[in-house]
């Protein structure tokens, strides 16, 4: 990948010790063009045994978890305990080290940043750990689930029925949250060095990262000492809010957006009902027509106070839901947005790949796995750099794939 062209971080060199917790940070940097060398122990890192597997056959070269989190990286095998000098040599010319080892492990091997920095004043060393290198809980075990539970997000996520447990948001987001901060902090340190500063240690706490990623749950407490309560499919709130989603004709849930308040918006809904042949079937059509004929907007303060405004507002909301119930989810979303209504559709992750907008922007990436003779569609990268496009440049390295060129 050293010869692969693009991405804003081209020329930045990273040495990453393979880990579950830090892998996404390495992927972010690698897909943005950094040359990331992934260091695995003999036999491969344990994440190679995380499912799902290609064709459901457990194989350390076929872990889709490993594939996803290690794109665009080169890979070598080094046994730190027995080959410390090989690891030291890998650091020649490296800008950044990324690791998520237990806090004392590298020090016990004489390979922590304090051991290696005297010869490498410019080296940036990023440690991602559950509670930080020095926190009171630094030695306690943690996973994505326990980070999201102990760090705040789970409190806000779940159902109106509080006999059901709070929910861990899906997709390893506790790990991702730590890794996004790790990548950002690494780049901050790199820019400081560009400006004449020294290399330094970056201590990332996944627990702290989760804590400052909970929006109003945190600042309702900080500002007003109020506690939000979780609600089905909507923001946790101090004062309960009403259910907003509805189910489209194909069983997909949709988010109807803010109900109409302006005459023009009621006109759009009325016209849409007509175009769909639903004007007679929808029980709210005539009241929506009143909305379209209003000479001013409905103010939110009128709802619940002014009987006519309340009725028109409710009819607009219900008519939009009625339309949603009669269309496939994505068709409703597109139709509503084209008419100026801020609607959404609850897509599953794989459905995103088929979305015409996402495809038009070239977001999914076809990656060729030469060793399998197979081309696989991957999720694209989070950022669209127009000058230096970032992308998934290569599949995850096979075990020791780059030993010969790097060691």
């Amino acid at each position: 990948m050293s010869d692969a062209g693009s991405g804003p971080l081209r020329g930045v060199r990273v040495v990453e010790l393979a880990s579950e917790l830090g892998a996404f940070a390495g992927k972010l940097l690698a897909d943005m063009g950094a040359d990331v060398v992934l260091v695995e122990p003999p036999g491969g890192h344990p994440t190679r045994w995380f499912g799902p597997f290609v064709d459901d056959v457990p194989d350390p070269e076929g872990s889709l978890w490993f594939w996803h989190y290690n794109t665009s990286k080169r890979g070598v095998v080094v046994e730190l305990e027995r080959e410390p000098d090989v690891f030291r040599r890998l650091l020649e010319g490296a800008d950044i080290v990324l690791e998520a080892e237990p806090p004392m492990r590298l020090a016990s091997l004489g390979l922590d940043h304090t051991d290696l920095r005297p010869d490498r004043p410019g080296l940036i060393w990023v440690s991602v750990t559950p509670f930080g290198r020095n926190g009171p809980s630094r030695d306690l075990p943690a996973t994505d689930l326990t980070i999201l539970a102990g760090g705040g997000p789970a409190w806000s996520c779940g159902y109106d029925d509080h006999t059901l447990p709070p929910v861990r948001g899906g997709g390893n987001q506790g790990l991702h949250t730590a890794c996004i901060w790790a990548a950002n902090a690494a780049l901050v340190a790199l820019l400081h060095r560009d400006a004449g500063g020294v290399g330094q240690h970056v201590d990332v706490s996944a627990h702290a990262a989760a804590n400052v990623t909970t929006e109003a749950a945190t600042y309702e407490w900080l500002v007003a000492q109020a506690t939000v309560q979780r609600q089905t499919g909507r923001h946790a709130a101090v004062v309960p809010t009403r259910w907003v989603r509805t189910t489209a004709a194909d069983g997909v849930d949709v988010h109807p957006g803010f109900p109409p308040r302006r005459p023009g918006e009621f006109r759009q809904v009325l016209d849409w009902l007509g175009e769909l042949g639903l004007a007679d079937a929808c029980p709210d059509t005539e009241v929506v027509r009143l909305g379209a004929e209003m000479d001013r907007d409905i103010q939110l303060g009128q709802v619940g106070e002014d009987p006519l405004a309340t009725e028109i507002f409710g009819a607009g909301r219900d008519a939009v839901r009625f339309i949603a119930n009669h269309l496939p989810g994505r068709e409703f979303f597109v139709g509503a947005q084209r008419r100026g209504l801020t609607a959404g559709v609850v897509q599953s992750p794989e459905e995103v790949l088929d979305d015409p907008h996402v495809r038009a922007r070239g977001w999914p990436v076809a990656v060729h796995h030469e060793s399998l003779g197979r081309t696989v569609t991957y999720p694209g990268v989070p950022i669209r750099f127009t000058g230096t496009p970032a992308t998934v440049r290569a599949p995850a390295p096979r075990l020791g794939e780059h030993d010969a060129e790097l060691l």
Binding site: P52, A149, L187, L191, D203, A206, T218, V346
Partner: protein, 420 residues
């Protein structure tokens, strides 16, 4: 580099950078908050005509007391610490001229308006690069500036619904739980900051600026990985009966793995056994006959009988204190954590306290208020959050006078004319 703010060895790491900032809400303001905490000079531009309300959080709840007003919004204050604030009426020629001069001495322009808004004011990408050829311009909106949905509008819940995050969170046979807050507003901001930082790394190496057309929905979809590959490689969609079940873990396979009810009102503990060693350690702590059931001895059996396993563990947890359970399990090496309430993690958690995670700022209207800190520490040049969010136009003199050299008399005239 912009020359007039010297980099210092012992200050903050981004002190040499200036950001001309139009961001708002959290998905944009969160980006420049991060940059400001690390020392970048972030100049937040607000519209004097509508008193800065293009950011809907200016003046929005929560509030410290019964007072209301544009300087009293708790979320706005949280998201805009460490920034400078100026007013500039871009409907006026003088306003646009001052913006042009500000862009010329800035490293970065950031905005998260709907697509096309900044261009309609005359400051699209082509114009910005003509003012300053190496400028980094990062726009961030729901669907980006290009593509069939470019004109569509979003806010947090829509982004999360469309990108796949909402669907991915829930219990089987129930509606998607979603996230319960605008998770992607946080990461929209954080990833927008990443766009700025990475584009500056490139600029430093090549002298080239660029436009980054960020789509918050795209960024959200990029946070979902192995489940997508399971579809594209194995043909297995996440939309299937019994899924998602996001309190469980298929990748990696873990059981038990869930959130269990404890003694007390709405009290819960999360428990995860990563492997058979964790399971055996848990069995010692729990010390009940069912833990010796041979079906539970290996992970395959625990996964195959997970409902029964969960029922047993749930019953054990139900009469016990969540903190006690988590302490006993983690002491035995098993990952566990209480589901902490905001009060517990902010006011009674030794880890967030030791980190310094809730710095306080003195706001002239709100008083002393604690805010989110930063979850990384840099050993040589760390972040600092000391200044509150700016009042409307608070730094007009510092910015237009101090940076652009506009005299006090002229500033007074500009204010009189409605330019500031």
């Amino acid at each position: 580099m912009t020359g007039d703010r010297a980099s210092t060895m012992n200050g903050r790491p981004l002190e040499h950078l200036r950001i001309c900032d139009f961001t708002g809400q959290l998905a944009g303001a969160g980006a420049t908050r991060l940059l400001a905490a690390f020392g970048a000079q972030v100049i937040r531009i607000e519209d004097p005509v509508n008193e800065g309300r293009w950011d809907v959080l200016r003046g929005a709840a929560p509030f410290v007391d019964d007072r209301r007003g544009g300087e009293l919004g708790g979320g706005f204050q949280n998201h805009n610490v460490e920034k400078l604030g100026v007013t500039l009426n871009l409907r006026t020629e003088r306003g646009r001229e001052l913006l042009e001069r500000l862009v010329a001495v800035s490293d970065v322009v950031t905005e998260n308006f709907a697509a096309g808004v900044l261009e309609a004011w005359g400051f699209g990408w082509e114009r910005l690069r003509s003012i300053r050829p190496d400028i980094v311009y990062v726009s961030n909106c729901g669907f980006g500036h290009e593509g069939p949905y470019a004109t569509f509008r979003t806010w947090g819940p829509i982004v999360q619904a469309n990108c796949g995050l909402t669907f991915s969170s829930g219990l089987p046979d129930l509606p998607a739980a979603g996230w319960g807050y605008s998770y992607m507003d946080h990461h929209g901001g954080n990833i927008m900051a990443m766009a700025v930082l990475a584009a500056l790394v490139h600029r430093n190496r090549t002298g080239e600026g660029q436009w980054v057309d960020m789509s918050c929905t795209e960024a959200g979809s990029a946070l979902l990985g192995p489940v997508v590959l399971d579809r594209t490689v194995n043909g297995r969609p996440l939309r299937r009966p019994g899924m998602p079940h996001s309190n469980r873990s298929d990748s990696p396979q873990m059981a038990p793995h869930g959130i269990f009810g404890c003694q007390g009102d709405d009290a819960w503990v999360a428990v995860a056994c990563r492997d058979d060693r964790d399971w055996r350690a848990l069995a010692v702590v729990v010390d009940e006959p069912w833990t010796a059931d041979p079906r539970f001895a290996a992970v395959a059996g625990r996964l195959a009988h997970q409902d029964e396993l969960d029922a047993n563990l749930s019953a054990w947890c139900s009469g016990r204190d969540k903190h006690g359970i988590a302490a006993a399990l983690t002491a035995a090496g098993v990952p566990a954590a209480p589901v902490r309430t905001p009060e517990e993690r902010i006011d009674h958690d030794p880890d967030t306290a030791a980190w310094g995670l809730w710095p306080a700022v003195d706001h002239p209207e709100m008083g002393r208020v604690r805010v989110d800190g930063v979850p990384v520490h840099l050993s040589a040049t760390d972040w600092a959050i000391e200044r509150p969010a700016p009042l409307l136009g608070q730094h007009n003199r510092e910015v237009f006078g101090g940076i652009l050299g506009v005299s006090d008399d002229e500033l007074a005239a500009l204010a009189e004319e409605g330019v500031l």
